[in-house]
């Protein structure tokens, strides 16, 4: 649908240009003085040294959630791979060693050069195993292969970096609720 925005016609003072030019000069001067005298209030930051605060809801680099015993929660159901519009997730499944869990990924790779960070994998995951809340937005590697995150790199995250209210993160090894979660976890009856 075409939406027409009606512009207010300029009055004759505005059409004279010179006064509006002065108004513009006033505006730019305000910004200049802000930058000069209140440098710290600039909305831009000197990037590599100061990073803007990124909320956990931002779709950043992926991580795989962990069970209390440190194995990835992923059950290799391929839902993320099926949902992925960029086809950047490669999974190979295997039988789990834990008798209570049937399936586990033997390979789980995300090619971050192909990934479009749409977050559909997170939406698709039935067991909340993949998340994009690492706030890690920029990562640099030397080779293309290094950009392929694998099972090892995806599970290398520290529970202390995440909120204490985040039960799933804190139940992972190293988290504050890990001990508690591990106790109920170890009640294994085959």
């Amino acid at each position: 649908m075409v939406r027409q925005i009606k512009q207010k016609p300029m009055n004759w003072i505005e059409r004279l240009y010179i006064f509006e030019a002065f108004r513009g000069l006033f505006t730019t001067m305000k910004h200049y003085l802000r930058g000069f005298f209140r440098y710290e209030t600039l909305p831009t930051v000197p990037y590599p040294e100061m990073k803007p605060e990124i909320l956990p809801t931002y779709r950043a680099k992926h991580r795989l959630m962990l069970r209390p015993d440190g194995t990835p929660r992923c059950v290799a159901c391929f839902m993320c791979a099926a949902a992925c519009p960029a086809n950047c997730i490669y999974i190979e499944a295997d039988s789990s060693l834990d008798g209570r869990i049937e399936k586990k990924p033997s390979r789980f790779e995300i090619d971050h050069l192909v990934c479009v960070f749409c977050g559909l994998c997170v939406e698709a995951c039935p067991v909340d195993a993949i998340r994009m809340d690492t706030c890690d937005t920029s990562y640099v590697h030397r080779t293309r292969e290094d950009f392929i995150a694998n099972l090892e790199t995806l599970t290398q995250w520290n529970p202390n970096d995440y909120s204490q209210n985040d039960v799933l993160s804190q139940a992972a090894p190293g988290g504050i609720k890990n001990q508690q979660a591990l106790e109920s976890w170890k009640l294994r009856v085959y």
């Binding site: 513009g24 001067m29 910004h31 710290e40 600039l42 909305p43 831009t44």
Partner: protein, 453 residues
């Protein structure tokens, strides 16, 4: 030959030769203008501006000088790049063109008076030194004539590049220079009429005696300023190098230091024009609200006040540094230790300078009492007084010029570029007419009210 040499005192000769150094003042302005432009544009657009490069000092680490180092690095890069010419250019003219605007920059400030004419006694001799390098009767006309020559650089570059973008850029430059030279001259006429002279030092003297040109001729001031901006080819009148239409205009085919010469020529031109506007409409070297004779009579105190102002500026700088240091300490910047270490250098230098300047000021205020002799009913002071006064006047002029430099940048980052026909329309149909009416009205008023001849 010897008669010419011996007709003047040797000191007069020495100073006259030394005054050629003023030719390099506009080039010095480049050092000010480029960082001012780039950082200023950043702040106006709510960003940081270039501030990444640094050099290393043993203890203080990475010194960025608030981004000034980056400009030096960029200049250095331009300097060391390969000078390259495309195959299809006219070799000689292509190489010659960038030199023209830069050469003119060195010549054109010759008629600008940097200080009031000095008259002082040196031993037995009474030495008179005019404020400008070339003491010419045509004054400002000479400057206009010289600075219009810089259009040749653009035109030649455009033609020699043998590229349609360059050619169009050159054409536009020449057209604009011609158009706005008329406005420039005519808008100035009122001021010349009032002062009754082409000599800039006499115009300044008239302003000193009456009011500043900006008050006496406000309309002329605006016309002059606009014409000046247009003549330097800066935004909003930079149609000659409008990148959406002409890539980069007349210097499309240039790179490395050849482009750098155009670039430096443009900035120097801004510097010269700023100085000119300051001279013609802002009283030039005359210190506001203070008579020159007062300064001369109390030169020690005047220098003391100058030192005091410098100390105030240093303290303001220190205040800023301390404020930033405090902020950095609480910020999350990963390099805050580096920056605080850098700031400690500035603190050290500023704190070292403050007492030195303060003591100098106090000393000069207390102990610098000028002595004078009366020659032909005029008080004539010694060389010290003359140089002190000249220093104050020079600084006054440069401060005023710096303000106008900022106006150039300010306007550039505020107003969008005009269309080419709009520029021509403004030049020929608006500014020119206003300048003509202004001239007529000024002439009538000058005749009727002021009773001039």
């Amino acid at each position: 030959m010897m008669e010419i040499l011996t007709s003047r005192h040797w000191l007069e000769w020495a100073i006259t030769i030394a005054k050629f150094a003023f030719a390099f003042v506009p080039i010095g302005f480049i050092l000010l203008l480029i960082p001012l432009e780039r950082r200023g544009a950043g702040f106006i657009q709510d960003r940081q501006g270039p501030n990444r490069s640094y050099f290393k000092l043993p203890y203080f680490g990475r010194i960025r000088l608030f981004g000034w180092v980056q400009n030096a690095c960029d200049g250095l890069k331009l300097f060391f790049k390969e000078v390259y010419a495309p195959n299809h250019v006219h070799r000689i003219l292509f190489a010659l063109a960038p030199a023209i605007p830069f050469a003119i920059v060195l010549i054109s400030p010759c008629v600008i008076p940097w200080f009031a004419p000095m008259v002082f006694t040196f031993g037995d001799a009474v030495i008179r030194i005019p404020g400008q390098t070339v003491d010419s009767e045509v004054g400002v006309l000479l400057l206009f004539g010289l600075s219009s020559l810089s259009a040749y650089g653009a035109v030649l570059a455009g033609w020699a590049s043998n590229s349609k973008f360059s050619l169009l850029g050159g054409l536009r430059t020449s057209a604009m220079t011609i158009s706005y030279e008329v406005c420039l001259g005519l808008s100035l006429m009122g001021m010349l009429l009032l002062a009754g002279s082409f000599r800039i030092d006499e115009i300044i003297a008239w302003q000193d005696a009456h009011v500043w040109g900006i008050v006496a001729q406000p309309v002329a001031f605006f016309c002059f300023l606009i014409a000046m901006i247009a003549e330097t080819g800066r935004a909003p009148f930079d149609v000659a190098e409008g990148e959406p239409e002409l890539v980069a205009g007349f210097h499309t085919e240039y790179g490395a230091m050849q482009f750098g010469l155009f670039y430096m020529g443009e900035y120097s031109h801004i510097g010269i024009n700023s100085i000119l506007v300051a001279c013609l409409f802002l009283g030039g070297y005359s210190v506001p609200f203070v008579e020159m004779s007062t300064i001369q009579a109390n030169v020690g105190i005047s220098l003391g006040v100058l030192c005091g102002l410098i100390v105030l500026a240093l303290l303001a700088f220190l205040h800023m540094i301390y404020r930033y240091s405090r902020w950095y300490k609480t910020s999350s910047a990963s390099n805050k230790e580096v920056i605080l270490r850098e700031y400690s250098l500035y603190k050290l230098l500023a704190w070292a300078a403050v007492p030195v300047v303060l003591v100098l000021g106090i000393l000069s205020a207390l102990f610098f009492h000028p002595e004078y002799t009366i020659i032909n009913g005029e008080m004539v002071y010694g060389a010290g007084v003359a140089f002190g006064t000249a220093l104050i006047q020079l600084l006054t002029l440069l401060v005023k010029a710096c303000f106008f430099c900022w106006v150039w940048i300010w306007v550039r980052w505020t107003l969008p570029r005009f269309r080419y026909d709009h520029v021509m329309h403004l030049g020929w149909k608006v500014i020119l007419n206003i300048a003509l009416i202004n001239l007529v009205v000024t002439a009538v008023i000058a005749k009727l009210v002021l009773g001039g001849n």
